[in-house]
Every structure is written in C-alpha cells, then in structure tokens.
Amino acid sequence: MSVPHALPDTSPASLRAFLLGLPGVDEVGAASRTAMLGTRSIKNETKAWAIDTAIGMVDLTTLEGMDTIGKVRALCSKALRPDPTDPTTPSVAAVCVYGDLAGIAREAVGDALHVAAVATAFPSGRASLDVKLMDTKEAVAAGADEIDMVIDRGAFLSGEYARVFDEIVAVKQACGPAHLKVILETGELRTLDNVRRASWLAMLAGADFIKTSTGKVTPAATLPVTLVMLEAVRDFEAATGQRIGVKAAGGIRTSKDAIKYLVLVKETVGEAWLTPDLFRFGASTLLNDLLLQRQRIATGHYSGPDYVTID
C-alpha cells in the first residue's frame, strides 16, 4: 500500500473520508503471502535465538473469571523465571491481568517487568465512557504501566469512527504515563479492510500498540490479520515517523507458530520491530511450548509437559 497523501485533521468527516479512502486489502494475497512465509526453514541456531526472542516478547496472560491472587502471584514468578532449572532463560516482557489484580502483579514483579492490565470493560467494551475511564485510571493507580483497552466494535462496525476515535483519545489521556495498547478484536471486524481501517484509526488516536484480539473470540490472532496490522504500522511510520508496536494475542500456542510471526515481522516491518518494545505475544500456553523447545535444544532430547509448570 502506498503512504496516504494527507493524514486527516480532527474533524469526523475528514477521519471518515480518510479511513474509507484507504486502499482495500487483497485477502487472497495476504493469505498466500503468510502461508509462503510460514514455510521458511529455520536452522537450529536461528531457532534457539528465535525461541529466546519470543520468550522475551511474551505478555504472560491470565484473564479468567476464576483468577485468584495466588494464581496471579504464581504467574508473576513464572514470568520472572520461566524455567527455574535453567537460569539462562530470559524473562518474559510483561504479565497481563485484569485491572483489579494489577496491584498484586506489581507487588510480585517489582520493577523487573511491565504489568499490563486490561481495562475499558474488557472483553466486550460495552460500558459507558465514564466507566471505561474509571476502569483505566484505577488500573494505572494500582501499578499497571500498560493498559490494554478494547475498542467499541459496535460503533466501529456501524461506521461511527469518530466515536471510537474520541474514546481512544480519552482513554489515552486517562492512561497518563502508561502505554496504551488498543485491542481491535479482529475476529469481530469480519474483513481485512476493516482491520486496516481500525489499525489506522487506533494509531491516529494515539495508540502505542495495536493488538489483534482479546483471546475471548475465535478467530483470535491469525497471520493474515497480523500482516495487515504490520503493514499499517509500517505505513504509519513512513507517514509520521512514529513507531507503533503490534501485539498478536490469542490462539498462538506453539513455538512453530511464534516463529512464523517473527518471520512475518522481520519481512514486513524489518528487524527494528524484533524487540519487546514493538512486538509482543499475548499468550498463556505458548510460554510452556517455548520452554519445551528450549529444553529440547539445550538437552538434545525431547522434553515433556512434566518438565514445565502447570498453569
């Protein structure tokens, strides 16, 4: 996609014209390009590097109604030392919890890791703006330095782009110093054209990261969706000079999948994005598989689930 000639001003009409004027996405092309990149053969040293890089990009997540303080503490100690049998294992990037548990997580990880909290009536986003802002402020006050907000998909799908835009701007303001990740919930956006529009919308409104999914809707992160978001990020950098991060969340369970995403990042936006500051995996079970593959490379034999923690 070429870089848009002119970014919109703040008027709703200009925003709407800009988003609807974005070129369409070739769905078949996106699918075949990601499928092709997924067949790359990765040699052993590269795989070892990729696994450590991927571990360092994980937002270790627990977002269940049954989350307890104990579970969050256990998650935090795993985030700090994913494999206690091997001190060379890197820590993950962040822990990701519900807002009310952000304080517990911050207490457990200290300053060693980021604490991400989901806010704004996650996962549905169906609440008034005041409630969403309150949700955000409480999470930040409790110690979250990253906020994962959900957009109002209903408003987006009915074409009320300005409303979604204003909401993101307001939440960004409520975040203060905390980084804002905007969850597009691509599984509900239906088309890749919408994913491209939502990506631009979020970036124009001030997102620091754009994130694929909540993990509560299927399909969650897929390679084609992530490709479109990475392209949007690349074009946004060309237009504004700003680097926005991407977080692929939900449905990424194996090291093989994770490595496919890393290849996609490198080939779409370049190596500059292969850092936890600009690319993240939102995952819970992925970490165990990364650890098993890491043990496999370290010991020379296949490892098993008895050798990692049960989450």
Binding site: G300, Y302, S303, G304, P305, D306
Partner: protein, 292 residues
C-alpha cells in the same frame, strides 16, 4: 498397469501412519517398498521420521488422559469390540500374514485366529488386573492399606520383526489393557498386518491416540523415543540388534523409563501370561483411616 486375468486396473497402495486416530503421511514424505516373503511388490508404506515419532507422543499423551480415566469395564468393552472388527476382517488378515511371512494358508489362518483370541484374552483382563496385581496389605495401625496397579503413561513398543500379527498384538495388548497409551513401531519388513489393524482400530471404538502405529525403521526413531522425556516406558521386543537394545536401555535410564526387553527368540505363539502387563503398571499404595 492391468491385471492380465481380470483386465482390471491395479489398485496400487501407499499406506499411511496411524497417529491420534487419523492417517497422516510421514512428515518427511518418505515411503518404502514392502515386498512379500517371495520378493514380489505388495505396497508402499510410510517411512516415519523422528518428527512423526514426536507427533505420535503428543497424540498418545492426549489419548492417555481419557483412556486411563475410563472404567476398567469400559476399556474391556472397547478392546473386545476391536476383536469383533478383526474377526470381520479375518480373511484380509490371513492374506496379509500369508504374503508377509510365507508358509501355508493354514498356518497364516491359525496365526490370525491366535491373534484375535489373544486380543479377547487381554480384553478380559482389564477389570481383573487390580484384583490379581493389587493387594490389601496388613499394617500395624488403624488403617486400610491397599496397593493398586495404575498405568504408567505413554508406552513405546517395537513390534517383533518376525511375527507380524500375533507378535504385534502381544506387545500392544499388555500395554493398553491397564490404561496406557501406546505407540507401536510395526515390523519393518512385514508392516501390512499392522496397517490392516489400524483400519480395524479406526472403525472400532478405541479413542484416537490410545493406539498409534508407525511404520519405518526403529533404529532411526528409537533413540529419540528412548530419550523423550514424555515417554514413560519402552518395549524392545522387536529390536534385533543387541548393541542397539543396550544403548536404548541406557538412554531410557536418563528419564527413568520402564524398559521391557523380552528374550531374543521369544516364541510369540506360546500361552501369554501377566508379566508384560505387570511391566507397564505403577503400584500406588493408599493408606485410609478405618474410622472407629
């Protein structure tokens, strides 16, 4: 190619593996030719790689959960059902065994009958193992004390190279009766009875992943399986090279696996006993207060 006698086109067969209840090709894409005892071409079989073996372990681990949790009575019914399906395919099994091992039709038929009978014999053991291998132990205290056999987990068995069906059944049966999931590597040169068995398994009630069948070279896969940390036991019945068997035993020790290594030249047609079942169970002892 056309059959001269009937004028029909030959139906050439390229068989696949049996992993997790499905029939995948080898990840490596390799196949090898299977020939009859007299050297004529029979079919192509998949030549499994270490990655297929790894996938089979994942499938077996998945299958183990429900299978080991099923009641012994239910496991017996499921295993008996396999014998029923095998009985229905008796003619195909006889043809397979005859082609693979040579000899007479009568000897092939008696091997197939013995294999089906043995499967029924094992099916009958599922809900009796605990009585025979378990015990109520006298202890000096107000406790009931029980020892109960439980399945060890994922068992990898190398099927005997010579006895292509009876030997195969004799390594699968004892592993699955107690609730283990099994990965069996079929006889390299005589895999067709094992492949026919997978077709019987796929149409019986045995859950996917409980019995997985790989074809290919055990010497290629076994070093990876003997060291695999998610495999709990190995059965070296079909390893003919004593040096390889010793090195596999040594590698298995690294993750404290149970190892069964039947004596070389084992007669698979001999009456079975409980020793192979006992080889793949763990004894759990429970102390329970008597109350009062």
């Amino acid at each position: 190619m056309t059959d001269d006698a009937t004028g029909r086109l030959d139906v050439r067969k390229t068989y696949k593996l049996f992993v997790g209840g499905a029939f995948p090709r080898s990840e490596s894409g390799r196949t090898y030719e299977v020939t009859a005892a007299d050297g004529t071409f029979l079919a192509n079989a998949a030549k499994a790689s270490r990655k297929d073996a790894r996938d089979a372990v994942l499938a077996a681990r998945k299958g183990f959960g429900a299978w080991s949790a099923a009641t012994a009575y239910n496991r017996g019914q499921v295993l008996y059902r396999i014998a029923e399906v095998m009985e229905g395919r008796r003619a195909q099994f006889i043809a397979d065994v005859l082609a693979a091992e040579g000899g007479t039709a009568a000897s092939a038929a008696s091997q197939v009958d013995a294999a089906i009978d043995r499967w029924v014999w094992y099916a009958g053991w599922t809900d009796k193992i605990a009585q025979v291998l378990g015990s109520a132990n006298p202890v000096a205290g107000p406790y009931f004390n029980f020892s109960i056999p439980e399945p060890t987990g994922v068992v990898v068995a190398v099927a005997p190279q010579d006895s292509s069906l009876l030997g195969l059944i004799s390594v699968i049966g004892p592993a699955v009766v107690s609730g283990n999931a099994v990965i069996v590597i079929a006889s390299t040169e005589r895999p067709l009875p094992a492949i026919t068995l997978t077709e019987a398994l796929a149409t019986s009630d045995v859950p996917g992943g409980v019995i997985n069948v790989l074809t290919g070279d055990p010497a290629e896969m076994m070093p990876w399986l003997a060291t695999h940390a998610d495999v709990n036991a190995i059965d070296l019945a079909g390893i003919t090279d004593p040096e390889l068997a010793v090195s596999l035993e040594r590698e298995a020790a690294g993750t404290v696996k149970r190892v069964r290594r039947p004596a070389a030249g084992m007669d698979w047609s001999a009456e079975p006993d409980l020793s192979p079942i006992r080889a793949f169970v763990e004894t759990k002892t429970v102390w329970h207060p008597m109350g009062a």
